[in-house]
Amino acid sequence: MADVLGVGAEGRTTKTTMLGRECVVKERVKKRYRHPTLEALLSKRRLNQEVRCMLRARKCGVATPCIFHVDYEEAKIFMSFIKGKTIKSWLQDQPPQEDVVKHLTEMGRLLGKLHDSDVIHGDLTTSNIILSEDNTLWFIDFGLSYVSSMPEDKAVDLYVMQRALESTHTQQDLTDIILKGYKSSKKQQATLNKLTDVRMRGRKKVMVG
């Protein structure tokens, strides 16, 4: 009766019901290639961070699924089901430009809020944001998230997003639209300055000096 919603690199999500409500179960898949001690350590740390960051995001006004239950033994999170489309599939349907600007600016604004409360998402791709029918943007998959106040970590978060956008979507300037919305963040200046540094990274680039 459980439908598989997705299998990523980190875990698999299935849809089921819990006490009559639609529910998503996210199960962290054990990585057999890792040393058991290291695996247990990472799994526990990441499960904790995931739950903690989702709650923190909700508190600062960014919509995330509501957590019903956490099973630490089996590394499972039970949360509410969000009906909608991922931004990825929404963008692939070529929506009108004004809608793209509207929703992506909003996405940037929410991202700024998230960073202002020191939540680093860790895996910001367009598959991890859902546009629900009432036009709310929901942030999901906090599996690689953590709490940090460093501009460096926030800038890397944005850089991961930029690279994901460039490799997934044909539309240009998506990053710029999002960053326009991001400018509403209180600490945007420090983060965006750092982002310039992070973009320069990558070894063995041709450069002067």
């Binding site: 890792r34 290291l38 991961v160 690279r163 680039k205 041709v206």
Partner: protein, 355 residues
């Protein structure tokens, strides 16, 4: 068609002769090995290369049982790598090209590793984990380029292992990585080290300084052994690499992975990649030390691929460079079968440089 390739971007000097189908006629190598506790420096490495390069070229030609006349082009590593050692090969390549009147092809070292791995294993379109003493990159092919998905933001994984070997005075013969691998087999206690994955990128510098401190403290108090540290270091850094590789595979929807570069011949890394790939319904490809470790044949093979698709390096541009990113090379031989023979404009008449 036949090509001769010269490789000398780091401490390995290699010369190889290959045919266009990937048949290796000869692939000889000489490695500059330094005493335990030390690494190879550019100046001494260049001296080593100068000392051995002529005899290696002669040996490669002899073992291949060919005459220089039969060669179609001379290929050499243009970069990336250490300046001094690279220059030795570039000078020799230019000299051979003029002596034998053959066209030159400057090859990107990283692309050569990928192409050699592909032809040896038969993996057609894998996600590539390129791990060596100088490079750490997760690569996938898309639209005429090898695109870098994730990479190290500071030192390469092999560099991290090599420098750890120096701290605990492991031998550099045949290579520090090999000796760490052997020591790790005897390790049992897992010592926690930082686990640094930043988005798609990894970082090793902090792990190295952390394990340096641990080595000083714990070894003295005999809380752990050198073998335990080798084991823990391998487990930690390889898990980081396999994790980012898996994410790249999930993103590209690819189930095959190919490990290349010096660290790529580590059996434990291969085992971890295989487990990961099998769980995704695919498989992991690796090559043995003849092809994984820097060699001349990979430069010759890739140079020949490039040559057949119109790449030729004029003498005036036959330089080398320390900075040469994998994604800078136009990979125009993967879309369809290579065109044959080389287009007209590719034919290049060697000229003596103006004095």
């Amino acid at each position: 068609m036949l090509a001769l390739g010269l490789e000398g971007s780091a401490n390995k000097l290699g010369v190889g002769v290959v045919r266009e189908d990937g048949t290796i006629l000869s692939n000889v190598r000489h490695t500059f090995v330094t005493p335990p506790g030390t690494g190879f420096l550019p100046k001494e490495t260049a001296e080593h290369h100068r000392k051995y390069v002529v005899q290696l070229v002669q040996q490669a030609i002899r073992e291949a049982s060919i005459k220089p006349d039969e060669l179609d082009c001379i290929c050499y590593t243009k970069g990336p790598g250490m300046g001094g050692p690279l220059r030795v090969c570039a000078v020799v390549a230019r000299m051979l090209a003029q002596m034998w009147k053959k066209p030159l092809v400057g090859v990107n070292h990283c692309v050569a590793h990928i192409e050699m791995g592909r032809v040896v294993t038969g993996a057609s379109d894998p996600v590539v984990l390129y791990v060596s003493g100088g490079n750490t990159q997760v690569i996938s092919y898309s639209q005429d380029r090898y695109r870098i998905f994730g990479e190290t933001i500071d030192i390469a994984v092999g560099n991290c292992l090599d420098r750890f070997a120096r701290i605990v005075m492991l031998s550099n013969d045949p290579s520090p990585g090999f000796n760490i691998e052997q020591a790790a087999k005897k390790g049992s206690q897992f010592v926690e080290l930082p686990y640094v994955v930043k988005g798609m990128d990894v970082s090793f510098a902090g792990i190295l300084s952390n394990i340096e401190d641990i080595a000083k403290e714990k070894l003295e108090k005999e809380e752990c052994t050198v073998e335990d540290l080798c084991f823990s270091l391998q487990e930690t850094v390889f898990a980081m690499l396999v994790e980012t590789t898996e994410r790249a595979m999930a993103h590209c929807g690819n189930t095959e992975v190919l490990a290349v570069g010096g660290v790529g011949c580590n059996k434990r890394l291969h085992e971890m990649l295989s487990i990961m790939a099998e769980e995704r319904g695919g498989r992991a490809f690796t090559t043995d030390d003849r092809y994984c470790i820097d060699n001349g044949a990979m430069i010759a093979y890739t140079g020949l691929l490039m040559f057949r698709n119109g790449h030729v390096t004029p003498l005036s541009e036959a330089t080398c460079t320390q900075r040469f990113r994998t994604d800078e090379v136009l990979v125009n031989w993967r879309g369809s079968e290579p065109k044959e023979p080389a287009p007209k404009q590719a034919v290049w008449a060697p000229q003596l440089p103006e004095s």
